[in-house]
Symmetry: C2
Amino acid sequence: MAKQKKQPRPKAETPKGFRDYFGAEVTQRADMLRAIAGVYHRYGFDALESSAVETVEALGKFLPDVDRPNEGVFAWQEDEGDWLALRYDLTAPLARVYAQHRNDLPTPYRRYAMGPVWRNEKPGPGRFRQFYQCDADTVGSASMAADAEICAMLADTLEAVGIPRGDYIIRVNNRKVLNGVLHNVFGFKNESEDAQLDAVWETVHKREAVLRTIDKFDKVGREGVLELLTTGRKDASGAFIDGVGLSEDQAKPVLAFLTSKGATTAETIANLQAAIGESPVGEDGIAELRQIADLLAAQGYGPDRIVIDPSVVRGLGYYTGPVYEAELTFDILDDKGRKRQFGSVAGGGRYDDLVKRFTGQEVPATGISIGVDRLLAALREKGRMQAQATGPVVVTVMDRDRMADYQAMAAELRAVGIRAEVYLGNPKNFGNQLKYADKRNSPIAIIEGADEKAKGIVQVKDLILGAKIAESATLEEWKERPSQFEVPRADLVARIKELLDSQS
Amino acid sequence: MAKQKKQPRPKAETPKGFRDYFGAEVTQRADMLRAIAGVYHRYGFDALESSAVETVEALGKFLPDVDRPNEGVFAWQEDEGDWLALRYDLTAPLARVYAQHRNDLPTPYRRYAMGPVWRNEKPGPGRFRQFYQCDADTVGSASMAADAEICAMLADTLEAVGIPRGDYIIRVNNRKVLNGVLHNVFGFKNESEDAQLDAVWETVHKREAVLRTIDKFDKVGREGVLELLTTGRKDASGAFIDGVGLSEDQAKPVLAFLTSKGATTAETIANLQAAIGESPVGEDGIAELRQIADLLAAQGYGPDRIVIDPSVVRGLGYYTGPVYEAELTFDILDDKGRKRQFGSVAGGGRYDDLVKRFTGQEVPATGISIGVDRLLAALREKGRMQAQATGPVVVTVMDRDRMADYQAMAAELRAVGIRAEVYLGNPKNFGNQLKYADKRNSPIAIIEGADEKAKGIVQVKDLILGAKIAESATLEEWKERPSQFEVPRADLVARIKELLDSQS
């Protein structure tokens, strides 16, 4: 054995953009995932857990002219040559799974999946490179009933995790309607991009610019979008942003589309009808929106929960038909104490070329992805979730030779479902034991020294009351209900149970 | 935009050594993790979820003379230069987390963690490169009460996930006792390896050979180990395996250690006492075993559940004090139909230099890791877990214009907690709808065509009974309980509930 070189001590740090989750952060997420899975399961969706690692080839991120495929994914090369990568979402793996197992899977294949995904992106405040997604997709159904169902399920899910009706809204839009509008604007004969790509390069370029521009509707409003679609606009800093170069006549239908939300679904549909003019694909899109709205209305999901709203732009570039987005509508305070809406917590839509990459066959699919970490953050900011979980009842150690006695107390408490533990640090300094209980957010400490043992009693310390007294209570309150009291050893479990019930 | 080059279709395959998990495989694992977390939590352990990605430096796998750190881990280099890797267990991240957050964490820090880990190893049959672990560790306690508690908790956990008492045994051994034995054998003055490493290189080499050899005790038995420790041994194929080169006098205490399990704990301890001779570290080890045994006995964990067993060798090289291993003792049939014991499903022990790598300070720690996938496999092989989960009630589509009606049925069923869905594939071929229900393992299909609608009834098809009839039933049984019958539409939910109850 060669002498080992002394190495410098490693830094105890998570990699940049990653973080650890402690206690309640972990259990609350687990509870939320479980609640979501419960709804998905009740809707007939089956669980799928694909591997976290995929071939870069299957993920579709392999760029042949780049040496290393690091476009947004964490990737590495195997010794034998395959490039592997961490999944960046749950949709690309679904496509691979469906293509791989399609002969064994039912059609339609309805699956849900939950777990971390990884993005090799520049991290920022509150922006991490590993986060949870929770998806449900129906693969192999072209029916709008599948889309309507996803929206209904999303509403049920949000309510199941603690967002009351009225605090969220699910907005539905349709890519085909926008295609219809753009068809009018650019005068395409049909909407197949592939067929016309080379010929109308300039137009397509504008189309993408239009998509990017209408995405700013939230920020710059109607007039801003009109300026950006046409001749350009001065932004708040005074800088001039070039326009897309549409004429006012071309820009108008786009704006009409964006602002076509009426007081009722019927009104919205009529406005969209006007915006698309005579486009067959636009008609398709409107018919789809109408079907979804009708199905949802029949099941009692009114526009207070799910609404046709053409101002939803996010995802219009990616999806091929209906697009959905769930927003939380309550106000929260931002870092600077200003009110703002919490915003989007889930999104999805229909994408019909999911599996085609693998098999050549087009397979219709539609689905939703919930940003679980954002949803948790929303519930915490609204104070609907405890920031810190309650710790265990701590049995302190007065006599280190009687560990078995103390363990027996903890075991008795656990047997009736009470979270309990014996202090396992060095028991010499009793103050440290109470400091420990405090740090654990323990509700109760139990003390049994030689005196107590001899008398057949234990001391019970109500740490929650104790903290209150330390903070504010008057002497009278203290007298009325002492924060430390004796109970017969035989009554320990019953009295602790009582006390815990009274604390909560 | 340049013309995109046509690329060959990607292969729809998981990377070598990875797999997908479907339906019940996923939910049963989630249920098991939840049950385990429940026990850990009740024992006072707090959840921790560290990031799946660590710096290679923090994992301790960076080999300075190798270009790429791929010793068993999946690793890649960041653009800025840091090597990152997927965690290969949950202990190394715990060390990093504890070192990073030690000022904010309670002492002792008791945490549980669960999740996938990744091993860059050659995959084999049933051996995957991603699998689940479920750990609990107490960091910062030198007390044997921490070790005893881990063993008790492990017993409780195994019972909580469905392994009845008697079907498992937790064996406890102690590295210090073996150190004491080797001390005698090699005549070390003390047991600090570091201090004597250079001087007694030859002896240490032998010591490792001894550890490797006694690890074969299960396979080659007492005589085999004796031969391997001394002059060597012919294996089954006739090949000669060199011996470690101990004298018979040196080998005997090692064998005595290995075979010192007696009928009672007292007897085992007496045997160990004889095996260590006069070694202080050996005495320490025996005292530790005795403390653990006493604490467990006081809490009612007898040797039918947790037993001092010096034949447990796995982990003796790695851990520094007590070592635990949980084995399932029931027989299963292997691939060739031969009975064998299922074997180990969890292991752990005390490791006191966990955090030292980062901080220079020695922090005592002890913990357990449960191999969740193995435990699931055991329950499945024993038939204690359904291989396939029950599918949803399927509402078939007879009239595609009445999707809203069918969705309403599914919604009514879901509202009372029944898993249900409307068939969302192309409804033209009714046979396909029933095939779908079959593939989903659905218990019931619901049929409502125009006739039924007019009469205010629906047809209910008992698919489980139907399958039984198709398989074996006589005509009489069929008559007695038809597998398809009519129910009034208004009674649908109540009747389906009844039928599901009768099926289970």
